[in-house]
C-alpha cells in the first residue's frame, strides 16, 4: 500500500469502524432488549446483565487510557487505578449529596458516614458536589491535576521505565492508605455507597441502568476516536518515537517530557471518566479501587488484547473481565487466581503482541507474501 502523502489518512481503519459499529449497535440494542421485551422472552436482557456489560465497557475505557500511554509512549503506569478511583470518587460524592434526607440519619447536608463520625460541618472539599456540572468537571480535573503534578515531576527529571512504574505504584499505594482513613472525609474503609438517584432518576431503575450502559458505550466510542486521532497526529508520531528512542527524540529537538505529560494527563482524564461511569453502575466506590493489585490487573487486560492497538485494549478488558465473572461464580472459583496468574505468564511468554497485535502481524505477513509493502505496526485493522 503506497502511503498517501497528499490524501489525508482516514481517521478510522477497518477495525476502528467495526469497533465503533459494534459499540453503537450495543448502545441501541441492549437497552431495547432490556426495556422493550418481556422478562420471560428469549430476547430479554436482564437488568443485571445490562449493568455488568456497562461495567465491562467502563473497564474497556480504562484499558484504552492505559494503552494510550503504555502502548504508544511506553509508560507502564502501575497506578492507573488511582485515576479511575478519583473519577469514581468525584461521581460518588455527587451521588452522596443527592441522597439528602433519605439517609439513615436523615441529615439534609451531611452524608451518613459524617453524621456517624460526629462531624458538624461539610468539609470544604465537598462543596459544590451537589451540582452535577461541578462534579462532572471534577471527574476530569481531579485525576487530570494529579497526573499533571505527578507527571510534571517525573518526566522532567526523566524517571523512566521500571522506576516510573514503581513510583506510580507507590503513588496509588499512598492514596490507598490515605482513603482508608476516616479523617480524610471520603467514608474511610466503607467508601461511598447507598446511592439513591442521579440527575433526579432512580439509580436502580431499569431505564437509568440502560441509559448508563448506552452512555458508557458512547464514552468508549468517543474515547477511542480521541485516542485514535491523537496517535495518528504528528503529536502521536512523536509519542511512538519516544517509546522507541527517547534520546533520539530529544536530539531531534522535541521536549519529550511535554509530550509525555500531555499524553499522561489525557490518559488520566479518560480513566477518571471511566471511573465516573463505573460508580453509578456498580453502586459503590471504596478505597480498594486504589489497591496496586487492581492497577496491575488493568495491564494484563491491555496485554491480552494487544498493547498499542487501542481496539485490542478494549477487547482485552472485556474478555478478561468476562472470564473473571464466569470463573469466579462457579465451582472453578478457587482456581481463578491460578488462571489470572497463568494468563500474565502466558501472555508475556507466548503472546507478547496480544490477540489483536498477533492478528495484525499475521495479516501483514500475508500481505507481504502477496507482494505488498509493509506498514506501521500501530495501524489498527479488524478486530472481534
Amino acid at each position: 500500500m503506497s502511503t498517501s502523502d497528499t490524501r489525508p489518512p482516514a481517521l478510522l481503519g477497518t477495525s476502528g469502524l467495526i469497533f465503533i459499529a459494534v459499540l453503537v449497535a450495543a448502545a441501541i440494542l441492549v437497552p431495547v432488549l432490556n426495556l422493550l421485551t418481556a422478562p420471560g422472552s428469549a430476547l430479554h436482557v436482564p437488568t443485571y446483565v445490562v449493568s455488568l456489560l456497562g461495567k465491562y465497557l467502563t473497564y474497556a475505557l480504562l484499558a484504552l487510557s492505559v494503552d494510550l500511554i503504555w502502548g504508544y509512549v511506553g509508560i507502564l503506569s502501575l497506578g492507573h487505578g488511582a485515576f479511575f478511583a478519583l473519577g469514581g470518587y468525584a461521581m460518588g460524592m455527587y451521588l452522596m449529596r443527592q441522597i439528602g434526607t433519605r439517609g439513615v440519619y436523615g441529615d439534609p447536608i451531611l452524608p451518613d458516614f459524617m453524621v456517624f463520625l460526629n462531624w458538624k460541618e461539610l468539609p470544604w472539599f465537598w462543596y459544590g458536589f451537589d451540582m452535577f456540572p461541578f462534579a462532572a468537571v471534577m471527574v476530569v480535573l481531579a485525576p487530570g491535576i494529579l497526573a499533571l503534578v505527578f507527571g510534571w515531576f517525573a518526566f522532567r527529571s526523566r524517571v523512566t521505565g521500571v522506576y516510573l512504574s514503581i513510583i506510580t505504584q507507590a503513588m496509588t499505594f499512598a492514596l490507598l492508605l490515605a482513603f482508608f482513613r476516616n479523617d480524610m472525609g471520603f467514608g474511610g474503609n466503607n467508601g461511598l455507597t447507598d446511592f439513591k438517584d442521579i440527575l433526579g432518576f432512580n439509580i436502580q431503575a431499569d431505564g437509568t441502568r440502560a441509559t448508563l450502559f448506552a452512555l458508557s458505550a458512547l464514552a468508549l466510542a468517543l474515547g477511542y476516536v480521541l485516542c485514535r486521532y491523537l496517535v495518528r497526529s504528528h503529536f502521536g508520531k512523536v509519542l511512538i518515537a519516544i517509546r522507541d528512542a527517547e534520546t533520539r527524540v530529544r536530539f531531534t529537538g522535541y521536549r519529550a517530557e511535554n509530550y509525555k505529560l500531555v499524553a499522561f494527563v489525557v490518559s488520566a482524564a479518560l480513566a477518571g471518566i471511566a471511573g465516573a461511569l463505573y460508580v453509578p453502575q456498580v453502586g459503590i466506590i471504596n478505597p480498594s479501587e486504589f489497591s496496586p493489585a487492581n492497577s496491575i490487573e488493568i495491564i494484563v487486560w491491555v496485554a491480552v488484547g494487544g498493547r498499542g492497538t487501542l481496539v485490542g485494549a478494549a477487547l482485552g478488558a472485556v474478555l478478561v473481565n468476562y472470564a473473571k465473572t464466569y470463573f469466579t461464580s462457579g465451582f472453578l472459583a478457587p482456581y481463578w487466581l491460578f488462571m489470572l496468574g497463568g494468563l500474565f505468564v502466558a501472555v508475556t511468554l507466548f503472546l507478547p503482541k496480544g490477540i489483536v497485535g498477533t492478528f495484525y502481524e499475521w495479516r501483514d505477513r500475508r500481505k507481504a507474501a502477496t507482494g505488498e509493502a509493509d506498514e506501521p505496526v500501530a495501524e489498527p485493522r479488524p478486530a472481534e
Partner: protein, 540 residues
Amino acid sequence: MTSPARCRSLSCALLFAALALATLLCAGRASAQDISGALDQFTQGNYGATEAALGELAVSGSPAAAGIVQALADGKLVFSNALPRKVFIETDKGLLDPLTMQPVPDPGPVKPVRVNNRIRRAIEAASGTLSLTSPDAATRLSAAGAVLRTRDEAALPALEKALAKETDRHVKSAMTLARSAIVIGMDGVPPEERIKAIEVVGAEGNQDALAVLRGLPDNALPEVKEAAAKEIAGIQHSLAMWDVVQNVWYGLSLGSVLLLAAIGLAITFGVMGVINMAHGEMVMLGAYTTFVVQQAIRTYDPGLFDASLIIAIPLAFLFTGLIGVIIERTVIRFLYGRPLETLLATWGISLILQQAIRTIFGPTNREVGAPSWMSGSFDIGQLSITYGRLWIIIFAMLVFAALLAVLRLTRIGLEMRAVTQNRRMAASMGIRTNWVDAMTFGLGSGIAGMAGVALSQIDNVSPNLGQGYIIDSFLVVVFGGVGNLWGTLVGAMSLGVANKLLEPYAGAVLGKIALLVIIILFIQKRPRGLFALKGRSIEA
C-alpha cells in the same frame, strides 16, 4: 493517696515470690528458736498478741516468716485447740509445720488465727518489710519498686530499716528513690529534707520519678515547688531524648526488616536487572517453611522447639532458592532485556504462589511460635530492648555480611559480577552464563526465604504476607541506588528510622504516606538513588 486494696494485691503478688524462695531455703535447716516466741503469740487468740507477733516476724529475718505472714493473710494460719497450742499452715495436703513446711501428725481440731482490719494493715506492713529484707536481691528490688509506686507512708519505717542494712547498689538506689518518693508526699517534712528527696527522685529521670514529682502536695513551700519544677523540666528533657533514642531503635529494627525483605531484591533487581514482583511471595514461602518446620517439631520432637528457627533458616533458603531457580529457568530467562514484561510475568507468578499457599494452608493466619530465646527484654537506661528485635537486627546484618562475602570472595560471586558487567565477554571466557543467571536468581530468592523465617516472628503468616513488603522493598532498593548493596543497607535503615521518627508526629498511616511522597519526590530528584553509579556505562 493509694487504695489499700491495690496495695494489698501488689504486695501479695510479691509475697508469692518470696514464699517460694523461703520455702526452699527453710526446707532443711529451720531457725525455729528465732521465731517460736512469735508463733506462740498467734495461739493466744487476741488481736493485740497477733499484731505483736507480726511485728516480731517482720524483723526476725527468718526465712519462714514470709510464708507464715502470707498464710495469715490467706486465712490459712491455724492453731490447735489441744494443749500445748501449736500453729500450723493449712494446705491442700493437710497441715504443715510453719517452720519446716513438712506435714505433721494430725493434732486434732484446729481453728484459724482471726484477722480484722487492724491486723490486715499489720500484715501488709509486715509483708512489705519482709520482702524488703528478703535474702533475694530481685525480691528486694521489686519490693522497693512496689513501695515507690504506692508511696505508702506506713512502709517508711520498714524501708529505712532495710535501707540501713542494704548492700546491693541497685537495690539501695531503688530504696533511696522509694524513700524519697514517700518523703516528698509526706506531711511535716522539713523543706531541706524534702528538696533533697526531690533531687534524689529527679536524678532517676524516668516516668515514675515524673509521677512522684507531680504528686507534690499543693501546700508545699515555694522553694520546694521550684526545686520540683526544675527536676521535672530536667526529666522531661531527658525523657524526650530517650524517646528519640527509642524511636531510632524501633527505626533500626524496622530498617533491618526492610533490609531483610529488600536484600534479595537488591540481587535480582540490582544485580540482574530483573523485576521480580514475586519476591514478596518468596518471603512468604520462607515464613511458611518455618511454620512447617515447627509443625514437624511439635509432632516428632517438641524438645527441639527452641532450635526451630535455626533449622528453618537453611531449609527456607534451599526451598525458596529452588523455587527461584525454577522460575528463572521456566519464565524469566525468556524475558531478559524486557523488564516491563518480566514485571508482568512475575506478578502472575506471585498470584499463583499466593493461591497455591491459600489452597494448601488455608486463607487464615498460621501460628508460628517464638523460641524462648526470642522472647523477653532488657533495659538500657530508659530504653527497653526486646530480644526479638535484637535478634532480627543481628540476623539482618549477618545475612548482609554473608551476601557481601559471597559476592566478593567466592567463585560464583565473581562469575555473577562478571556476567552482570559483560555477558558476552563472560560467556566467551567459559562462564556458563545460563547457570550463573539461575544461581543468581536462586540466591536472591533464597535470601528472601531466609527473610521470611525472621518475618514469621513479627508478622502474620498468611498468604498475603509478601504483598505488604513488595512496594517497600522496591523503594528501598531504588532509594539506595540500584546495583549497590551498601546503598540498600543505608536505604533500608534510613527509611526505617525516618518512618519511626515521623510516626509520633503524623501517626502511623500519615507517616507512611508522607514517607512514600518523600521517596517519590526523592526519586524525581535523583532517579538513580542515593549511591548512583556515575559514568558512561549508565547512559547506555
